[in-house]
């Protein structure tokens, strides 16, 4: 047993962080989808880790944590899932959900329709929908569709896609949760009230500590699920991934709240980036199964 990233895995993760720190710092976040950053990610091999670099979901989870930490907008998960089956940015439509909504339709070349009756791929330009005037995450445009497009089957197993999608979305949430902790801690160190940094007060310090703890727990759960999906002999991947998405959603949403609270009045403004991360966390909490869906799935295994 060696339940830590290996040197190579650490190196990979560090590499992606360095790329994103320079190409997509938080100051660039309000610009939304960035085609240059997207090309960089494609060239770096972020989406073809498995198909071309012969790496596994453990590596993918580590990389997606970094994408989440940088809050990169774009159809990240779908593009990874269809690598080897379709080229270009691919967004996901979860056909079981109502209303039917799809993200980043304008920049996608394909739509992966996730349907328990058979998953399929549609050409994005053939899909028409009505843009939501005010999506929860201003950096993730959404279209509402009247019906799921027909598309053509790519022979990928629905359960497997859902598990992998939940894992990668969970990784994005863990990355967000970690970034929210960093932001809260940095603010708590610099903001002074009553002549001292607010982070010296236990009432604030303990919010930060809980944020850190939630993230560590969710990350351990996520990594364990990634290992099990890669190596079924290591444990029950379905159970692990349900737990991981549930805890990752909890970490991202509760840390969003904690980070907003630590920022006080500024946390309620558009001026600090916290709200972008919060809105992304709320959006991703509805993708590839909510915490409730995963709790129900876990209950069925008990």
């Amino acid at each position: 047993m060696y339940f830590l990233p290996t040197d190579e895995q650490r190196e990979l993760q560090r590499g992606v962080r360095e790329v994103l720190d320079s190409a997509f710092p938080l100051e660039k976040l309000p610009g939304g989808f960035d085609a240059v950053v997207w090309s960089t990610l494609v060239e770096t091999g972020v989406f073809s880790l498995r198909t071309e670099l012969e790496l596994g979901l453990v590596e993918a989870a580590l990389v997606f944590e970094e994408l989440g930490r940088a809050a990169v907008p774009g159809p990240l998960v779908g593009t990874f899932l269809v690598a080897g089956h379709a080229d270009g940015a691919t967004t996901v439509l979860e056909a079981r959900l109502t209303p039917l909504t799809v993200a980043h339709l304008d920049v996608a070349t394909s739509v992966l329709v996730l349907d328990s009756g058979g998953s399929r791929l549609a050409t994005a330009s053939d899909v028409s929908g009505v843009p939501l005037p005010e999506p929860i995450d201003p950096l993730t445009p959404l279209h509402e569709l009247a019906a799921a497009p027909t598309g053509s089957s790519i022979g990928l197993d629905y359960t497997r896609l859902m598990n992998e999608g939940a894992l990668l979305t969970g990784a994005l949430q863990v990355g967000l949760a970690a970034r929210l902790t960093e932001l809260a801690v940095a603010y708590a160190k610099s903001r002074e009230q009553f002549d001292r940094p607010i982070g010296s007060f236990q009432a604030v310090k303990h919010i930060c500590a809980d944020m850190f703890v939630r993230t560590e727990l969710a990350r351990a759960s996520l990594h364990s699920a990634a290992v099990m999906l890669d190596d079924p002999e290591a444990g029950d991947g379905a159970r692990a991934v349900a737990g991981a998405k549930l805890l990752a959603d909890e970490a991202a949403t509760l840390n969003s709240r904690g980070c907003t609270q630590v920022h006080g009045g500024m946390g309620f403004t558009w001026e600090v980036p916290v709200h972008y991360l919060l809105k992304r966390a709320w959006l991703q909490a509805t993708e590839f199964g909510t915490a409730d869906d995963h709790a129900e799935a876990l209950a069925a295994l008990l």
Partner: protein, 395 residues
């Protein structure tokens, strides 16, 4: 990153499982929790069996008679013994997990020879004299005073929360030897025989109605200077060395137990009918049970992370994280148990064919987890200050 046993780990696990399967059926019934002489006999007999089989002091270096196991083997040992329902360390706790490791690291050759073999065989039981009525979370403010008189220290004062004091042979005792030094710098670590004249042990009645802890009163108790471990006034540092023996394994048995209890609780909920119907049909309740199951699975993963960190010398944050999150999850599990058991939860013995004895007693017992060994509030301070680098409240 992997979660599989290596060939050596698998061999260790298999050998241990075989030994447990052979040994446990012959083990007698557990004594009642108020029967202290019985508990000592039971726990020390088990310790002797571990010793004879080569499993005593699993994490102790071989030069002190331990097994010298790797952190992962230590984890496997605790996991397998818990799964098999073997006794936990019980009254051997302080000796094996605290005093022994401290003596092994800081003691003189004579001190090691006098105590370590007896701790490993279960012949010598230790208790811990650290906390005082006015020194709890602020342990270093302790006042129990030791004054040098020739070859002895003369001790006066009052300790509290001393586990297993009634059955212990020795006490690892922290005393104030320099009242003028900064509080962490005037403390000394002593080994005290529990039959020393001037010592009085008064059991404390816990909210469980049991005497897990005692108060210990010192009236001119004389302790030979040769019983000092480490230098005079260096006791605070001496106390800290034992932490390196834990290697991420502090909650293994309880987390393994909690994973089992989640499955048990689901089974109970499928059986229990209340005025609202079968408990398991309550979607909110069912999801809460599953949610806690996910947390305990994650705590188990986090344990493996901490053990890997310990094995590779990577400084990790998992000890405080695990303590804080595990203890609070355990309390929520017990509260959830009460929701499932409904009115039956009012009994501390089994009633209506339900395991209410275990659940209700443990619900009470779990209240101590967020207080003992560093309260949840202290853990949050540690995480905030030492890990996140936030400033201290004062100074």
């Amino acid at each position: 990153m992997d979660l599989r046993d290596s060939a050596a780990e698998r061999a260790f696990r298999t050998e241990l499982r075989d030994w447990l399967a052979k040994t446990l059926p012959a083990l007698g019934p557990k004594p009642h929790h108020t029967d202290w002489p019985g508990r000592r006999r039971y726990d020390t007999a088990w310790q002797r069996q571990l010793f004879d089989a080569g499993y005593a002091g699993i994490n102790w270096p071989t030069e002190y008679g331990g097994r010298g196991a790797t952190p992962t083997e230590h984890l496997i040992f605790l996991e397998e013994t818990e799964r098999a329902g073997a006794p936990y360390v019980g009254v051997n706790f302080v000796g094996l997990l605290h005093a022994g490791p401290t003596i092994a690291t800081e003691g003189t050759p004579e001190q090691k020879a006098a105590h370590l073999p007896k701790i490993l065989t279960g012949e010598e039981i230790w208790c811990q004299g650290f906390s005082e009525p006015s020194a709890g979370s602020d342990l270093a403010s302790m006042r129990t005073r030791a004054v040098r008189d020739g070859d002895h220290y003369v001790v006066n004062g009052h300790k509290i929360w001393t586990s297993h004091a009634e059955v212990a042979d020795y006490c690892e005792l922290l005393v104030r030897t320099d009242p003028d030094a900064p509080k962490h710098k005037g403390i000394t670590w002593l080994m005290m025989a529990m039959d020393s004249p001037g010592l009085e042990v008064r059991p404390l009645n816990t909210l469980l109605g049991s005497s897990e802890f005692s108060e210990v009163f010192f009236d001119n108790v004389r302790i030979p200077v040769s019983n000092r471990v480490g230098e005079e006034n260096d006791g605070w540092r001496v106390t800290m060395v034992t932490l390196s023996f834990e290697r991420g394994t502090a909650w293994v048995d309880q987390i393994v137990d909690s994973v089992r209890l989640v499955a048990d609780l689901a089974a109970i909920a499928k059986k229990v009918t209340t005025h609202a119907g079968v408990a398991w049909e309550d979607r909110g309740l069912r999801r809460d049970i599953a949610h806690l199951g996910a947390e305990f699975d994650a705590l188990w993963a986090l344990t493996k992370r901490g053990v890997t960190e310990a094995g590779s010398g990577v400084p990790g944050a998992s000890a405080s994280v695990l303590k804080l999150r595990y203890t609070e999850a355990r309390q929520r599990l017990m509260d959830l148990g009460a929701r499932v058991l409904d009115r039956a939860a009012v009994s501390r013995t089994d009633i209506a064919g339900l395991p209410t004895g275990e659940w209700t007693t443990e619900r009470l017992n779990s209240l101590s987890y967020t207080i003992a060994a560093g309260t949840s509030q202290i853990q949050r301070n540690i995480i905030g200050e030492r890990i996140l680098g936030l400033p201290k409240e004062r100074g």
